[in-house]
Symmetry: C3
Subunit: 359 residues, 3 copies
């Protein structure tokens, strides 16, 4: 399956890459090694030695260079071979590995897998809350054996929370649910409002302690390739106008949580899932950290991951949209996101999965 090339993919959390510990991971079918030079800057190389095709990550970092663990060829941050096994042996011109543009931003490592001339860091979506020192962030990572586009669908329709994540997040206001999807350029917003209900368990007990009826709002912001920011807010029941935008809703807010849900395709049937919960209260409280972590484990490892993987097994090698799914109004966000992705792939000359039926 082809993947969009000219976009920023999250490779890892930035502080997991140190001069003492490089990272390696397959991204859109390409093995990549990312390391941090002694000067603190990152470098990203294709994780294959051009001599015998072994992974460079089986070698070691020596200052600014990576030395292959098989025959000792050394490569610099720009991918050029700078050292041969035997002193005096000339370096063949072809001894070079691909180097990828790599940027550290919002506490994440972002890789550009396409044309380096187009690698504009300004295209990275805003996840600045992740590097705000005034916030408390709890993060995790899982690996999902499913097409990352199934996770786009998942994150674009949070009505699934009521069923799949019922234990933590089911709302008694679900019957009065209102939902709304907006697209601004290539950004898709989807908002669910649960008016006047008792707080779900997660906000009563697990990660907040609200008791009285609330208006609860989930708002996702989706950006290519699969980078979702989720903002959850709670207001006293009736105090929050459902029509109001989330900006400027702070006056009588009881609770706000921001989170990042970022999927990076590994292969056409597997993906890396990075998730971070970010809060502006109880920062540094290890008890709340632990509760958030338990919630994440339940939500991502126990609930979402098995569902996505079972879905992938049922779909098999098919393009899901060609199987004739019954689409619902609540799929509008996912359809928008898949259309944007398909259009961008077409623009790159790649065959794209169908975004929806006919329309």
């Amino acid at each position: 399956m082809p993947f969009l090339k000219n976009t920023w993919y999250v490779f890892d959390y930035a502080d997991d890459i140190t001069p003492e510990r490089f990272g390696h991971r397959t991204i859109i079918d390409q093995p990549v090694l990312v390391y941090r030079k002694p000067d603190g800057m990152l470098a990203a190389l294709r994780d294959i030695c051009p001599h015998r095709f072994v992974p460079l990550h089986m070698g070691r970092q020596i200052g600014d260079v990576i030395q292959c663990g098989y025959h000792g060829l050394r490569f610099g941050p720009d991918g050029a071979c700078v050292g041969m096994p035997i002193a005096g042996m000339p370096i063949p011109k072809a001894a070079r590995v691909v180097a990828y543009p790599v940027v550290e931003r919002h506490s994440l490592v972002w890789l550009w897998m396409g044309d380096p001339a187009l690698a504009d860091a300004g295209l990275i979506p805003d996840f600045s809350f992740l590097s705000d020192p005034a916030r408390g962030n709890v993060r995790g990572h899982t690996h999902v054996d499913a097409d990352y586009q199934l996770a786009i669908d998942n994150l674009s329709d949070l009505t699934h929370v009521q069923f799949l994540h019922a234990g933590y997040q089911a709302s008694e206001a679900f019957e009065r649910l209102r939902f709304k999807v907006d697209q601004v350029g290539d950004t898709v917003y989807a908002r669910l409002t649960f008016p006047n209900g008792r707080p779900p368990y997660a906000f009563q007990k697990a990660v907040a302690d609200i008791e009285a009826p609330i208006d609860l709002c989930f708002e996702t912001r989706w950006n290519l390739p699969s980078c979702v920011r989720l903002r959850i807010t709670a207001h006293p029941a009736g105090a929050h106008s459902a029509g109001a935008h989330s900006a400027g809703d702070g006056d009588n807010r009881l609770f706000e949580s921001m989170s990042a849900h970022i999927l990076t395709p590994e292969t056409d049937r597997s993906a890396h899932y990075f998730f971070v919960n970010s809060r502006d209260y109880a920062v540094g409280d290890p008890e709340i950290d632990a509760r958030v972590r338990a919630w994440q484990r339940q939500g991502f490892d126990v609930e979402d991951k098995p569902m996505l993987e079972a879905q992938q097994r049922r779909i098999g090698g098919h393009d899901v949209m060609t199987l004739g799914p019954v689409l619902l109004p609540t799929d509008a966000g996912a359809i928008r996101a898949r259309r944007i992705l398909a259009a961008r792939m077409t623009a790159e000359g790649l065959p794209a999965a169908a975004a929806d039926h006919g329309a």
Copy 2:
């Protein structure tokens, strides 16, 4: 690989499906969920939600309906969608899953995967001994990574018992073995008679306690798709005319055992194996039950299953009959059964595996 559609496949033991516990299993490449309604009747649905293609078995049963675990769509026993995630959301016409004819008979659940108009419960072979309250039944289930047709071959030629199941069942009368195959319509009978020998271990010690020389007879009855009833009888040596049919052999019989050996294809390389041993003596004796269970475990899990799986690995993706097997007179039963299956598949317009060489 195509499978015969218009036939009854065993899905499970009937009392394993209760209103508190539905079953799900892949049958001829189709995932199926079977549940028991509060009124006691069974329903069978394709185990895929038509919205996002996740397995319905990851959801739950609510009275007469199954609710998808992802977004909450509800389906009734006829496959129609009867509930949507959000109150007031209209039900799309296409929101429907396939419902299969399902019948409970002889303590088994039988599924019809073909044209529902042809689903005649009268075609289910007689296994009434399985639901006879006067008998003691010990049952089991295993999963075999092999084409179910290899199990047809296995069960149609019980000379393998002498070698593969030697510990329990090898007979010192094997050298004097007589065998006979008959076909009546689409039913195949195969009979082995071991005249005048000491009882095999199974009948001396394990599940019966016969000491004196016996005439031992194994008679299988095969029906489509792979439903075998095995009747084992022992008579005092010389008392049993080898020519006599099993009916009416009860006068001086020392021992009779009936058993069911039913294979249901899962995929073209895997099958569900249901087996039940049924006796009319020591009914309810837990000591004999335990011995029968030990015998079943040895025979099916330790002996048959590894042999069939090793055979499948050797055969790989080939149609076994095209590999030029050396066929023996004792393969006559298997050839008859495979011919019947091939004829029925041809009648359904399906390509069938070769039943034998040239003939």
Copy 3:
């Protein structure tokens, strides 16, 4: 992938095949069973019963014959069926399995998978040191999920020892390394000389106890299909003329080790690896045996095997030479060996992997 047929493949260590314990293994995609008759001679049969295609190794040896474990057919050392399940049942002419020429030599079992008329035991390369009772041999076996030709490359360029096996064998004389490749008929010799350096750890501590600076020499002799003899010698620094052939270097030698490194392809992506270290000092000393064993485990299981398997995963289904590897002067031995193999495969009418770029 096709394999060279007319060559001798090592099946196992000879004394692992006894009348009480036959061996079975897949060699160039063919399952083979080797057994030792009561008279001490070996026999080799295709490990598939021609009746139902189950592995013969699931049966048992009875004197000179192998009896199938499914229905009891018996086969003699020439592959002919010599016994049927039922007394008096005629033996079909086609009931026969392939028998392979098999030879016991140099403590190894050698199989000929091609035209039996060409099976000349004189073609077996000389590994007579393996059966020299005056020597101490420590042997092992591992299984590698990689094309055996990757192991040809590995063994033909021992500069990898400096990086992959650094802990035991890195030499401080590596910077002064000299290497030389010679071809004599279809035999390829490759020699590495490390002049005037402190002995690597292996020769200081692990398997010898040399302290003073040495001239160290590694000389491999490669024969088809992938049979390598490695001779390691150490002389006092300066005492060993780098130009001299290894023959006749014994006068002032400090140390000599001989070893066998033999790869037998199982499939196109997996191989059996037999390795034996042979020494002429401390013969029978269990402490040195244990140290050699630890060295072998580290070198083969911990270092070579994961590297070859990672290399195979990176290469996937491609012919490595078509991927455009950057070749170095030190690859000369591997290129020679691959050329010889390719020429021999072409002579057998088989498509061969490319041996190198263009040349």
